[in-house]
Symmetry: D2
Subunit: 392 residues, 4 copies
């Protein structure tokens, strides 16, 4: 396929506007229940995490926001942290609550049978809203570990009722210009039932809450075989796709680099986005990474992931929409499939390299970062102190 | 566990009210894409199917309705068929449409890109509504094979829009006292995307249609690992669980006898039903079988399945709800789980045998049917003609 | 990535030697248990199937063999059929037995509890060996539908013992220069247990039989999430990978066109093949298609599939093996992964177009076939008679 | 079903001989990658773990062995630890190696590309063999976390070769009366490929090692839908089923209490065991628990699990083998299935209560333990020190 100049230029324009948000916790240590392998140069505090995230933006040019996780990223002065970010060319993105690590939350948080525990979980979310105000963040991101390990352990329906009530109070505490996004997850850390296990449940709660609530789709949070692009299309049709948590998986919530396990799936997802006009920042869909670089270096892992999203997006932008529609309308199964594959099979790396150079960046962000010496620098400097991880 | 007399009597009372609807097509031949093995004595027409279904009711006492499938069960005079059923002690249940076997429907029906095909599919549903009027059936049951085999084949979102429009016309054609139930299915016969793949999609369409639309949950229509009792609880909470299609599966939509693959799951499902008060016929939840007896004899296969549903229901009725709630409120994980298991581990067959004798039935329906000679009779009589199957 | 001229020329040489075997049944009608949609111009007999297969070879140049399925492809004179094939530039490939459609085989064939049925199944395989002799085919391909639908239905272990005994007799009937390949399948048409469900079971039987028995890996015959390239590597390591049945799937054994669902997986599989030197015809690994073109035209479906295998193979041939090994040895996770992705991300269509032209073929086989008028010709000519399908 | 006195007595005799091995680590804290919730009274060292395990044996009478995990259970004097166990009525069971927590093992252990790391992993296993000698343990249990997270990261086949070489050295270091059992696992903590992912791989390595190597089947280590009883039957047929790691799962390797997720599956597994005569201790099959009591108390969790295995075993012992065989031979699908279900549906708790009383135990081990005051005692006594977990 040779895309027309017009198509290529339109693609570049769209790519210039696309941004990808980075998670602060991707720069800290992470692992499995078996072991967290520490890496050299890992940040010791939120300031250093933001500094590392800024590196990703420096070399890709499209990653200008950093999500925070509370309490992992608690600091004394969030305005100062926001200034620190601004000084590095990035800003604070979504604020993620955490109600799964305090001992009180062993059997649930917003769904807990005990009102006292629910109160504590609700109050934590109000604290997160305060952080939003202090940092200028517009979105509260809620992912709950709530669920059950054993049949009978608690009332499935009772927990839904409590969840609805708790979420309503949190939502009510938001300012008029603040939003809530609610993530669903198939399983883990609960192993029998998760209280928000699927897009349907998340959407029902969002619909009950109001216009400023929408769904977070984490690409690793589905049952085997689930067609994710269908969910994307469905949520876009409802106007309730708030954000992606991009990563990839072969089995469960593996949290590998996006595009590493099934790049064709990522392309199909981005095709739905492009078709629906949701690549436009005005659409309100946020493209975020949520990954664990357990064995690979973290900054390059994030750079590579940003590039993978860009490549899938580019391919989606190159789909010949007119030819596709014509073949679809004609019932030409192989023809329509062929139009889509034609875009997917294209090597878009040269186009992106050119775009980067036009944006004043190095054509190859991985090589440019590697050449910068930053990895050695932080390994040398960040000695002593406690490395950041999921606990801090 | 020894249940109190009061609990046992309450359980019996509930069991006397529970009814289980049978599918006419379970009595015809069925199979896989590889082979349909014919069985002896299989019905040649809807009258004979209903006669066989009446046998199941005769020995279990709780299966008084038969679902029809149009056009498989087309007859010249549906009033006559309804009288035939009444004469055998049963009535006509839900009317199932079929828009997946006409050549025009190869690429879809209510979602097809071609308006002409959508019109044909809508008109078929109106024909089914006429059958409802002629038979006194109150429910139109819609399951669609619509979907895609290849990425790009058609617009995912466009198909949702067309589906919504088509369903609205069908729903609008219903009488005031008629209902629509919409089934979802994970996959098959479409292998890339199914247009109604999950409960969320079905529910969204039902919500858009109106109060008389609700969701059909087929226990075999989910991704691996999906927690079905959660969906049951969620749909009950929304007041939109219209009907079950009971069967069981190890892999895909295996359509084995309900309770044969995972009897504990069936119990957990019935536990949600009982807890929500949805066992009461007034709740509007219909308990139906939808199975394929590919290698086992069909009438005994249905009898056994009805008994399996009854056993799971009985166990659910024996759960000590007070003890369960107390343990749940106390956060006693093992205790609450233990209360549930205590009911599950109970052998409820003696209770059901007693109940049947109290109802004037044989204690053992399988043995009573086997002793009746009916199987030999139909094998001898039903010679010549074309055996019923999925095509007729 | 810009591959060196030397690499490109080596790739072309390997691609010229690679052959892909076609299944005769791909040209007949196929479908699901719900419906087989007939297509225009479908062959009525094995002669016409071979004629269609020869078209695929005509435009791709790499599909010179056709597998037969007995009894679907029974003819009076197999020598005549072989001559017919030769006249069209193709030859007879593997002979596939069929012991799943005779009424006697409802509860099993080589594993059946009744010795009489096992004898019948064994004798059918001997008939297939006769067909091999008559057609010059060197491989007997055995896929069994044997299995159970219900727990308790038969003895799992007893069936393994019977299977071993039956296979030994079939194997013993082979000539010295004939081979057996044994396919495994996760499920379908049996829904509780399949008697040869995984590569381990197939391999154990092959090891017991002798050197001329090896495993068939159908890419659609695994549990969700199974890593297929691992199995490829393992079977190659044991010297027992006999053949691929290529197709693709999203859910179960969907039998879609290979490369249509997960092209990256196909590339990883071919990477294992290339790394192990098994692309060489002397390795004894046969690359076959086994697909159902339920809704797309069959000849173009096969052409596209052959091209998809070629594209994946080409990418695998472009992997920089030295750079890969160096990164692997250094523990450079991102670097090693990057080397692999570098080849995958390459657009190899120009290379293949050039190769085809060098081979005297059209650069675009799909377009060349479409332009040939063959589809219209067979649609016009093949009127009357019974179209071939899975039954004939 | 009313089992004959003869059958009941035979069942009791078999149950008296059955033993279930407990893992020392089940008594320490465990959790997920998100959080390890600490519990009161958790052991601080291997002596306390064994004391807790002895409680399980005290109340169930069938759990006389405790598996150790090295280095988690390292002590200065293993003979002393063995004496401590003996004093509490239990003995040391299998010794589990651990080559997944040292920093050197981030990219593999016995399969690592670097010979130095492989040497370290091999030496660790030799250290475990020394522990076996000191404690009188007869079995070395090997589970490897080795695998890859990203395609291309290392050579799949190269790792198999290195694994074979490493295992051979470890096996060679065993004494003549010592055995190795090799566990397989579908995934986790590696997320692309696990080096021993399935029973076929484990068995191939065992066959290459020698007669004293056999396979460990962990019931949570399979792909969704995998038929575990088939694998049990297959491994028994090969004489290579070394041990079970019992637990249960809904999704991945959830490590819930055995029998809590799918008690019917557990029954089917035990049915294969009973049918093959492998319940006899002389068969060499070891029945072990491997569970994580993340949110429930640990000692009662283990007691309940032992009881669940006993209940499933009892039901399997009550299967009417003659009636089952007759129905199977007759091709009576429903009849054969019915015989199996008849045993499963039986409430075996009274039989087990009687048996316990005959053995001088309390009829209800859960209640007896609860009444003992042990939980309060250890909560009060075990103050200070570091609670044991997966790290120690």
């Amino acid at each position: 396929m040779t895309a027309s100049t017009k198509t290529v230029e339109a693609a570049k324009a769209a790519l210039r506007r696309q941004t990808i948000e980075l998670p602060s916790w991707a720069f800290g240590n992470s692992g499995t229940r078996f072991k967290v392998f520490a890496q050299q140069g890992v940040p010791r505090d939120p300031y250093e995490k933001i500094a590392d995230a800024a590196q990703v933006n420096l070399y890709t040019g499209v990653a200008p926001r950093v999500s925070l996780h509370i309490p992992w990223d608690l600091v004394d002065d969030f305005s100062d942290l926001a200034r620190h970010a601004a000084g590095l060319g990035v800003s604070i993105g979504m604020i993620n609550s955490n109600v799964f690590q305090d001992d009180d939350f062993m059997l649930g948080s917003l769904t807990h049978p005990d009102k006292r525990v629910r109160r504590k979980a609700i109050d934590h979310h109000k604290q997160c809203i305060d952080v939003m105000r202090a940092t200028g963040s517009s979105h509260l991101k809620v992912w709950l570990a709530d669920g059950l390990n054993y049949p009978g352990q608690d009332s499935i329906r009772g927990r839904q009722d409590r969840l609805a009530e708790s979420l309503a109070e949190v939502y009510g505490a938001l300012d008029e210009d603040q939003h809530m996004v609610l993530e669903y997850k198939f399983f883990e850390p609960a192993f029998y039932i998760t209280d928000v296990p699927d897009w349907g449940t998340s959407l029902l709660h969002c619909l009950a809450l109001g216009d400023r609530a929408s769904v977070v789709l984490d690409t690793g949070h589905h049952a085997p075989g689930t067609n994710i692009e269908f969910i994307v299309a469905q949520l876009l049709r409802q106007g309730r796709l708030g954000a992606f948590d991009f990563n990839s998986r072969f089995y469960a919530d593996d949290d590998l680099m996006v595009g590493a396990a099934d790049p064709f799936q990522l392309f199909r997802i981005m095709h739905e986005i492009v078709q629906a006009g949701a690549l436009d920042p005005a659409s309100g869909v946020s493209f975020m990474l949520d990954q664990c670089h357990n064995i690979e270096p973290k900054i390059p892992g994030q750079i590579r992931s940003v590039m993978n999203v860009q490549e899938a997006t580019t391919k989606a932008l190159l789909v010949d929409a007119d030819a596709l529609l014509a073949a679809q309308q004609a019932g030409d199964v192989l023809g329509a499939h062929g139009v889509l594959m034609d875009a997917y099979d294209t090597d878009v790396r040269p186009l992106l390299a050119t775009l980067r150079e036009e944006m004043g960046l190095a054509a190859d962000p991985m090589a440019a970062y590697a050449a910068s010496g930053y990895a050695d620098k932080i390994a040398a400097e960040r000695v002593g102190g406690a490395q950041a991880g999921w606990g801090a």
